[in-house]
């Protein structure tokens, strides 16, 4: 298989000796490796383009005016395109929530941990059932509030109490309390 006939096949390279083979292999592996690195780095923009865009991220805070909520009433606002429940608890509801031994709950939390100092009567939670994401009932006037007087999710029967804690049904955790601050006595800002 002499090269002069031009019939050389890849195996002919073997005759170039050990060093030639090693060097050639190294170059080929490096070239294929570089192509692999290049291909992989293209994945970065291709994947991250699906993450929230800047306008979506920028709209991630919402202000809610709570001055008009009467005790026992709740309002629904929109926070990050999802419902946000803001509820002004009555004295009775606060007492009910406090009477429960937090340690016995599925997701042990006290009302104090779920509200802000000085505004114990304002319960801010996401209106998203922690089971599979339905919107629980109980925030609007006349809706069923469930066996524990808080919220009730009709999809799979999760009952939440007056502090928004899961008491009965399939939901694994309490209704999420988002990050929020009181920018004044009557306005909260979520996010």
């Amino acid at each position: 298989m002499a090269d002069t006939t031009g019939t050389a096949t890849p195996e002919a390279a073997v005759e170039h000796g050990e060093d030639g083979v090693r060097r050639r292999d190294f170059i080929n592996i490096a070239a294929i490796g570089a192509a692999g690195v290049g291909g992989a780095s293209v994945l970065l923009p291709l994947i991250s383009q699906m993450a929230p865009s800047e306008d979506v991220l920028a709209e991630s805070s919402t202000e809610v005016d709570i001055s008009a909520i009467e005790p026992g009433q709740a309002i629904k606002a929109i926070f990050r395109k999802q419902p946000l429940f803001v509820r002004r608890l009555t004295e009775k509801e606060i007492a009910e929530a406090g009477a429960v031994n937090a340690g016995s709950l599925r997701d042990p939390q006290t009302l104090e941990e779920r509200t802000k100092e000085g505004h114990r009567d304002i319960l801010v939670t996401m209106g998203v059932c922690t089971h599979l994401g339905c919107v629980p009932l109980g925030a609007a006037e006349g809706e069923v509030k469930g066996e524990f007087g808080g919220y009730f999710c009709p999809c799979h029967g999760s009952h939440y109490d007056t502090a928004g804690r899961i008491r009965k049904g399939p939901a694994p955790t309490n209704l999420e309390v988002p990050e929020y601050v009181f920018t004044s006595d009557t306005v909260i800002q979520a996010g």
């Binding site: 170039h16 070239a31 192509a35």
Partner: protein, 282 residues
Amino acid sequence: MIRILGALIGLGFTVVVLWAFGNGAYSAMTEDVAATAEHEFYLSPKDVDFQHEGAFGTWDLAQVQRGYQVYKEVCAVCHSMKFVAFRDFAEIDYTEEEVKALAAEVQVPGIDPNTGEATMRAGVPTDYFPSPYPNKVAAAAANNNAIPPDLSLMTKARGHGTEYVYSLLTGYGPIPEELSEEFPEFTTPTGLYFNQYFPNLNLAMAPPLTSAGQVTYADGTEATVDQMAKDVSAFLTWTAEPTLVKRKQTGWPVLGFLLFATILAFMSKKYVWSSVKPKTED
């Protein structure tokens, strides 16, 4: 057969297009093509240097901020900038607090949460720049039927856009004597303004930058007309493509890596082929 048919079709097209050529040549010889003032006196944009130009250019953030001030105090009276949101200003070196303050300076349409009536409220960072006119009809009515174009993309929407904006802003002046001599019938109608950097020479926009000190720069830069025009051109380059500098900065490592990979590919190709290269002496 197909070749005879093909030749006939080919000759047919040739005859028709040469007939058109003959007609065109005849009218070119018999009719004078009237030269127009637009054709002869239009000037290409002046060449100005900006820090963002070139393959390594970066924003001159102080200049872009000054440009925003010119836009806000002069241009925004008539021109909208609807694709730019106040939150974008975080990219040109404004702090979060400053962005909030800038947004709060404008009033944007809102809805009264109690009555549902349309009202105005102070802007927040997620708001886009409000338009100075409620709709196109109002914009046309207020401006002698010439709607002031949106400025968000202006420097990309014209050839050599940054220079074009600068040249237009500084290009107003009287009709030159040569033009009047050559085209005595050329005039600038009332309500239009002569500008040699505008394609048809008469522009509906009144000179917006007229005197030094029209705006007062916070950083102490002297606000000459030339300076203001340059600053606002730089600002509009940023609004047209906020990712411009990031794009170029991403480009260099990509090209560097590709060059490296291509050299490797070349060496690999050479080695693969080395066994079949013909011998030169044989």
